[in-house]
């Protein structure tokens, strides 16, 4: 059993290979943190661009970054809330995360950024919100932050 099953979070060297900075600057890209073999393939079938690969229903998914258009179909259906859309825009990092709590933040709000362990690592600004009623209860929220935090921040807390 891998060590992340004891901790409940991934270390930086356990995450999937990162998309290149060039790719991140081009447009949004899906980044999946789902290393364990579990019987689920919701993301594969949601993707219209063959960007998510899976050998069988139990295998972990793999994103082909070249094919990903950043359409966010997969992030809407993932039951593990394990998909994040990453992007570098105007030198800033942007992460789109699923959010199922109240209150739902609004564009322009400042939020506390949390890493995989739940520690506050900085603050960010909300740049886009898909309201929960448009996605069966799961809001999607884009938060702008320091570019170096793209692979560290995985949640936020509304102040």
């Amino acid at each position: 059993m891998p060590d992340y099953c004891k901790r409940g979070f991934l270390l930086t060297d356990e995450i999937a290979p990162r998309p290149s900075d060039e790719r991140l600057k081009e447009r949004k890209v899906a980044f999946i943190e789902c290393p364990q073999e579990i019987p689920c393939n919701a993301c594969v079938f949601s993707c219209k661009f063959d960007a998510v690969e899976m050998e069988n229903i139990n295998a972990p998914p793999r994103v082909i970054y070249e094919n990903c258009t950043g359409c966010m179909k997969c992030i809407r259906v993932c039951p593990g809330l394990a998909i994040f859309m990453l992007e570098i825009k105007d030198g800033k990092g942007r992460i789109t995360m699923p959010y199922e709590f109240l209150p739902v933040p609004e564009k322009g709000d400042t939020v506390s950024l949390l890493n995989r362990k739940g520690e506050i690592v900085g603050e960010g600004t909300v740049t886009w919100v898909l309201p929960p009623e448009k996605n069966e209860g799961t809001a999607l929220v884009t938060v702008e932050m320091d570019k170096d935090l793209l692979f560290e921040v995985r949640a936020f807390r509304v102040r």
Partner: protein, 517 residues
């Protein structure tokens, strides 16, 4: 008071406001709520007193599988308050306590336990012999639960006999799937459930489901329940009988009760999809009000919108414990941590990651040692375990919490299978006693099928596929359907095999080897 007004995922549609009376005290309730939920929302925590020592008991399972919420309702004793719905003017009284359940003077027996060891009535209070009758009569006053109704019940019971092709017991994910697939083939079906609504435990699963995209992965459990209900109600040949408790299967004939009607059902095939009940765990004070089943808390919170407390401690890090933690946070309830006896997290990593990134600690290789409190949980003590599952001395630590959720697994509800005459085996990998069956879910008793958690504890996604297989096969055996139906049935069998191929399925497969013939 204790009711949730807003929730990120669920919209609580509460009925008309009514007043119920608990031990004479008026309380606010809403139509559609169970008595237990309404009492809980009004701050009632002690629901009953234990039989002998009069220890306070709170609610536990919230779905009618335990007996800790029994009270007198409108003069009828020993009613499970988690199963009856409020009505304006309802009179609810606590039983087995004096003067009331909160301040029961007989609770002193708990301190005098040394005087009443097991079987004491054979050895003590028997001499002098001329006083023996007096002693016996006095002791009898303290025994039994509840009082006989004061008024004679005038209403007469009725009897009814039904015939159908397939009787399905339990309208959860497995039973509903059976009904839909067998109904589609044209079989005449009687679908029964003891609850007033279909959906089983899906109605409290507010999270999105894992599984295969073809079988609804990514959809919330509550939505799956709605979809299945809509589908099953489309069939005229599926007769849905709710509030119907099946109490026995006698040589292929089913006995059931609905209100005051005794129903005799003579089916050609039976599908038993009775689900599972929650296990509990042994530790000091594990019966204190505030120690709840994880599923019970889900029912209270996600179905009735009642807040279980302010800070919870979760015992067990299987998927139920992890999901419940997330759901508590969604309802604005704090979670002090998750305790797991195994050295690794039991459930899916992604479920753990969801709560971990919100700062909830997961204590692996730890267990709960005791709960603090006298009338309700006021805290807990946890302790580390070494690699031989022994407590590490000096590693005790106190956790501040006002309720504790036990999510240490489920056991199949197997009673009807036994009674139907199916060969049963104890398979720990599947959660307990499960029937021997073939790959189409037919048990050793011909014509009796099993599906869902009753066949072995697994996910709702697999329960639905098992239900389809049982529904299809039983209908095919009765002459419904054609080659296409057989192909569909076989495809579902291979879908199931495919889903179980991963590491989480390995344990299930090991268990199935012992029962699938």
């Amino acid at each position: 008071m204790g009711r949730l007004q807003e929730h990120p995922v669920v919209q609580f549609r509460r009925g008309k406001k009514v007043t119920i009376y608990f031990d004479g005290k008026p309380m606010e309730a809403y139509e559609g709520e169970t008595v237990a939920a309404a009492l809980y929302a009004n701050g009632v925590r002690i629901f009953s007193r234990s039989f002998k020592y009069h220890r306070p008991r709170g609610f536990f399972c919230a779905i009618g599988k335990c007996s800790s919420c029994m009270m007198e309702v409108d003069g009828i004793p020993n009613v499970r308050t988690c199963k009856v719905y409020v009505r304006d003017g309802m009179q609810i009284r606590s039983q087995n306590s004096y003067p009331d359940v909160n301040n029961d003077i007989l609770g002193v027996f708990d301190r005098l336990d040394f005087m009443f060891p097991h079987g004491f009535h054979y050895k003590k209070f028997i001499r002098p012999s001329f006083l023996r009758l007096f002693f016996v009569n006095s002791m009898r006053k303290f025994t039994g639960l509840g009082n006989f109704p004061k008024e004679e019940i005038k209403e007469r019971g009725r009897e009814e006999t039904l015939e159908c092709d397939i009787a399905i017991i339990g309208a959860g994910p497995a039973g509903l799937s059976s009904a839909i697939y067998a109904g589609e083939l044209g079989a005449d079906i009687c679908l029964m459930d003891e609850n007033p609504r279909v959906g089983g435990q899906l109605v409290k699963q507010t999270h999105r489901f894992f599984g295969s995209a073809e079988h609804g992965a990514g959809t919330r459990g509550i939505k799956i329940a709605e979809n299945l209900e809509k589908k099953v109600r489309e069939f005229d040949n599926v007769n849905i009988s709710l509030n119907t408790g099946v109490f026995g299967i006698y040589d292929g004939t089913i006995g059931a009760v609905k209100d005051n009607t005794l129903i005799e059902i003579k089916p050609k095939k039976i599908i038993i999809a009775t689900g599972a009940y929650e296990r509990t765990l042994i530790f000091e004070n594990n019966d204190l009000p505030g120690v709840y089943g994880a599923g019970g808390v889900q029912t209270l919170m996600n179905v009735y919108g009642v807040k279980p407390g302010d800070t919870g401690l979760i015992v067990g890090s299987g998927n139920v414990g992890l999901i419940l933690t997330y759901q508590l946070l969604q309802a604005g309830v704090d979670v002090a941590g998750i305790v797991e006896a195994m050295p690794v997290i039991g459930g899916y990593f992604v479920h753990a990651a969801k709560v971990r990134r919100l700062g909830i600690p997961i204590y692996t290789s730890h267990t709960i040692k005791k709960a603090y409190g006298s009338k309700r949980v006021e805290g807990a003590q946890i302790v580390a375990l070494d690699d031989k599952w022994q407590e590490v001395p000096g590693s005790e630590r106190d956790i501040s919490c006002d309720f504790i959720c036990i999510s240490v697994g489920l056991s199949p509800t197997h009673e009807l299978l036994y009674q139907a005459g199916a060969e049963m085996r104890f398979v720990p990998e599947l959660g307990g006693f499960v029937p021997v069956r073939n790959r189409y879910m037919e048990t050793s008793r011909e014509g009796v099928y099993v599906a869902g958690d009753a066949a072995g504890i697994e996910e709702a996604s697999t329960a639905m596929i098992e239900g389809r297989i049982a529904g299809l096969d039983s209908a095919i055996k009765l002459g419904y359907g054609d080659k296409e139906a057989e192909e569909m049935r076989d495809k579902f069998v291979s879908d199931l095999e495919e889903m179980r191929r991963g590491p989480f399925g390995a344990r299930i497969l090991k268990g199935l080897e012992k029962v699938v013939v």
